[in-house]
C-alpha cells in the first residue's frame, strides 16, 4: 500500500518532481565535478604548479649561492667558477630523471646599450633547446616551458637566433624600446676586450620579476659575447617532488648521517633533497639547492584552489537545497488537504513525513544519478581544458554524492516538514469555501 501510494504520488506529479530532480542534478553535477577534480587532479594541479618555476637551483661549487640567487652582480668577476653546458643532458640520466620536468641554464652579462653609460643585465638562457640524452631519448627544454606564465608581446626566441634579443618590460618602458628596434650592445669579454653586437628586439616580455629590468637572449649568443663558450653560471631545475618529512629533513642536513637502510629509502624517494643530491652526482663540481619557498607557496596555492572548489561545491549544493526547499514547500501547501485527510484517517506525522521524504528521495535520487553522470563529463572537460589530462572517476565520490543527495533533500525539506507537522486536519478539511 505504501508503495502504491508513493508510486501514485510520483506519477501524478511528474512535472514537479522532475523540477526537483533537475535542481538536484545541477547541484550534484557541480559537486561531483569539483570533488573528482579535487581528488584526482590534486596531483595534476601540483604538477601544473611545479612547472610554474624552478624548485632546485644548481650553481658551481664554491660560488656564492646568494650572489647567484639574488643577482648581486658586479661585473663578470664575482666568481670565475662555471658549470659545463655539455654535462647538462646528464640531468636526464639520474635515478629520478622522469621527475625532472624542465631545466634551463643561465649565463649573465652586464652590457651597455646604444652607448648609454648605465649597465643593463643581459641574461642568456635556453628557450626550447633540443637535447639528445645519453640514454637515447631526446627532450626539448628551456624557459619557454619553465616560465609559461610570462606575458610575451611578440614571440619567444629560437635557441639558434644569432641576432635576436627580448627586452624586459621595465627596461623597454624606460628606454622606449619596442619590438623591431635595433640595439647596439657593448660587452666586455673575460679577457677584458670590448665586444659589440647588433641585435634586433624580437619581443617585449613581462615576467613580474627582476628579469623585466634587462635583456634576454639565447645562451649561445651571451656565451659568444662574453667569451665563455660552453659555460653556464647556474641551472634552474623544475622537478616533481614528494613532500618533505623527517627523514628527508635529516638527509638534507647531511645524507651521510643516515643508516644504510634509511639512506636507500631516501635516495629512492623523490624528495627534493634526494633529487638535488643526485644532480650533484651527475654534474662536476655542482651544488644543487632546493628552493623551499617556491614549493611552499605552491602548496598554498593548491590549498587555496581546493578551498575555492569546496566553496563552489558548497554554494551549488546550497542553491539546490534552496530550490528544492521552495518546490517541496509549494508541494506541501498544494497538498495540505490531502495531508489533512491522511491525518484524519489516523496517519501519524512520522508516517506522512516518511512517505513525503521517500517520494522526494526517489526524485532527487534520480536527479543525483543524472547529476553524477553530468558531473563526470564536466570533470573530464575541466581536466582536459585546464590540466590537459583526463580525470578518472574516483569511487569515493559516489558515496559522498549519495550522502550529499540525502543531506540536501532532508535539509531542503525541513521547512516543508515543519509545515506538515503543524497542519491541523480540522482546519483544512472543513475549509470555508
Amino acid at each position: 500500500m505504501f508503495l502504491r501510494m508513493v508510486l501514485g504520488a510520483l506519477t501524478r506529479q511528474k512535472k514537479k518532481l522532475l523540477m526537483m530532480a533537475c535542481a538536484m542534478a545541477l547541484g550534484i553535477s557541480l559537486a561531483t565535478a569539483m570533488l573528482n577534480v579535487m581528488l584526482d587532479v590534486g596531483d595534476k594541479i601540483n604538477q601544473e604548479l611545479k612547472t610554474y618555476g624552478a624548485n632546485i637551483i644548481v650553481t658551481p661549487r664554491g660560488a656564492s649561492f646568494l650572489a647567484d640567487l639574488y643577482g648581486v652582480e658586479d661585473g663578470a668577476g664575482v666568481s670565475d667558477k662555471y658549470l659545463s653546458e655539455a654535462e647538462l643532458p646528464n640531468l636526464k640520466t639520474i635515478f629520478w630523471a622522469f621527475n625532472i620536468v624542465d631545466f634551463t641554464p643561465y649565463l649573465d652579462a652586464s652590457v651597455s646599450v646604444n652607448g648609454h653609460e648605465e649597465k643593463v643585465p643581459l641574461l642568456g638562457a635556453w628557450f626550447a633547446k633540443h637535447l639528445d640524452i645519453p640514454t637515447g631519448e631526446a627532450v626539448d627544454t628551456g624557459i619557454i616551458n619553465m616560465k609559461s606564465w610570462w606575458d610575451i608581446r611578440g614571440s619567444w626566441l629560437k635557441d639558434d637566433d644569432e641576432s635576436g634579443v627580448m627586452a624586459g618590460s621595465i627596461f623597454a618602458g624606460k628606454q622606449g624600446i619596442k619590438t623591431g628596434d635595433k640595439l647596439t650592445i657593448f660587452a666586455r669579454d673575460n679577457s677584458g676586450k670590448v665586444q659589440t653586437a647588433f641585435l634586433t628586439v624580437r619581443s617585449v616580455f613581462h615576467s613580474g620579476d627582476k628579469e623585466d629590468e634587462g635583456l634576454l637572449a639565447p645562451l649561445a649568443l651571451v656565451q659568444g659575447l662574453t667569451g665563455l663558450e660552453g659555460k653556464v653560471r647556474r641551472v634552474e631545475v623544475s622537478a616533481l617532488t614528494t613532500p618533505e618529512n623527517d627523514l628527508s629533513r635529516r638527509a638534507s642536513q647531511n645524507p651521510r648521517s643516515l643508516s644504510r637502510q634509511d639512506w636507500e629509502i631516501w635516495y629512492c624517494t623523490a624528495y627534493v633533497s634526494a633529487i638535488a643530491y643526485q644532480i650533484e652526482e651527475a654534474l662536476t663540481d655542482a651544488r644543487a639547492k632546493a628552493i623551499l619557498q617556491v614549493a611552499e607557496s605552491e602548496g598554498k596555492i593548491l590549498q587555496k584552489t581546493r578551498l575555492l572548489m569546496l566553496l563552489l561545491t558548497f554554494l551549488s549544493l546550497a542553491c539546490s537545497a534552496l530550490a528544492i526547499s521552495n518546490l517541496v514547500t509549494a508541494n506541501v501547501l498544494e497538498r495540505s488537504v490531502e495531508i489533512g485527510l491522511l491525518k484524519a484517517l489516523g496517519a501519524t506525522n512520522a508516517s506522512i513525513s516518511f512517505a513525503l521524504l521517500t517520494e522526494m528521495l526517489i526524485a532527487t535520487g534520480i536527479g543525483g544519478v543524472v547529476g553524477y553522470g553530468t558531473g563526470l563529463g564536466l570533470a573530464s572537460i575541466i581536466g582536459h581544458s585546464v590540466f590537459g589530462s583526463a580525470v578518472s572517476a574516483k569511487a569515493l565520490v559516489i558515496p559522498i554524492a549519495a550522502l550529499l543527495v540525502l543531506l540536501v533533500t532532508i535539509g531542503g525539506s525541513l521547512p516543508a516538514l515543519r509545515m506538515l507537522l503543524r497542519l491541523r486536519p480540522a482546519e483544512v478539511l472543513h475549509g470555508r469555501q
Binding site: T11, A344, G346, A426, L429, G431
Partner: protein, 223 residues
C-alpha cells in the same frame, strides 16, 4: 448504553464563542441529525466529537473514555480506531484509485486488505468502479466511496458533515439508503445537515443556534 456523552462543552476561538455549554448524549445505534444556521457551531461540534479538536471547557466521553483532556497522538489513535469521517467535499486522494482510497484508511489503521476493500465497495455499489480515479467518478459515486472509506475499519461512530450538501436528489437518496442500511445493522450515525428532508430520516434532531443547543426532539415531531 451511551456511546457519546458531552457535558457543558464550550469552544472558544479567540473572542468567538463557537459552542456554549453543550450537553448531549447519543446512545449506541442511534441516528442523530444536527441542524442549525450557518456559523451556529455544527462543524465545531463535529470536530470535537471526531477528535480533531479539543474543547476549551467541558468533558467529552467517547465509548467510555474521557477524551477531553487528550492530545495529538492519543486523539489520532482514538480517531483512527473509533471514528468514521464523511465530509461534504469528499476529500478523496486524486492520484489513488477508488480501491486504493479505501485501502489507505485500512493501511493507517492496521493492514491493507484488498479483498475486504472490494467487499466494502460492493456494499456501496462501486465494484465496477474500483480501478477508477476520483475525477472519473460522479459526485454521488465519490460520496459513496467516502462512505466505504469511513466504514472500512468498523468504527463505533460515523460522523458525516453535510454528506449530501453537494449531491442532487437521486444521489442524496442513494446515500440515505446506505445510512438506513448501516443504521439497521446497528451503527451509530451523527449527520450534520441543512436539509430538513435529510434530518427527517434520523431518529433525533438536535438544533444549534449561536453555539447553544436549542432543541433536541424526535424526528417525527421535528416535522
Amino acid at each position: 448504553m451511551n456511546i457519546l456523552e458531552l457535558k457543558d462543552v464550550s469552544m472558544l476561538y479567540g473572542q468567538v464563542m463557537a459552542l456554549q455549554n453543550i450537553s448531549l448524549s447519543v446512545a449506541s445505534g442511534e441516528w442523530v441529525a444536527i441542524m442549525g444556521a450557518s456559523g451556529s457551531g455544527k462543524t465545531t461540534l463535529m470536530n470535537i466529537v471526531g477528535c480533531m479538536n479539543k474543547a476549551t471547557r467541558g468533558t467529552v466521553t467517547l465509548d467510555g473514555e474521557n477524551i477531553s483532556r487528550l492530545d495529538g497522538r492519543d486523539l489520532t489513535a482514538i480517531r483512527r480506531d473509533k471514528i468514521g469521517l464523511i465530509f461534504q467535499q469528499f476529500h478523496l486522494i486524486s492520484y489513488l484509485t477508488a480501491v486504493e482510497n479505501v485501502m489507505i484508511a485500512q493501511y493507517y489503521h492496521s493492514m491493507a486488505d484488498e479483498q475486504e476493500t472490494l467487499r466494502a465497495l460492493k456494499r456501496v455499489g462501486l465494484t465496477h468502479r474500483a480501478g477508477h480515479l476520483p475525477r472519473q467518478l460522479s459526485g454521488g459515486e465519490q460520496q459513496r466511496l467516502c462512505i466505504a472509506r469511513a466504514l472500512i475499519n468498523y468504527p463505533r461512530l460515523i460522523l458525516a458533515d453535510e454528506p449530501t450538501g453537494n449531491l442532487d436528489e437521486s444521489n442524496q437518496n442513494t446515500v440515505l439508503d446506505i445510512f438506513h442500511q448501516l443504521h439497521a445493522e446497528g451503527s451509530t450515525i451523527i449527520v450534520v445537515t441543512h436539509s430538513p428532508e435529510v434530518a427527517a430520516h434520523a431518529q433525533r434532531v438536535v438544533s444549534l443556534e449561536f453555539g447553544r443547543l436549542v432543541s433536541d426532539v424526535p424526528a417525527q415531531r421535528f416535522h
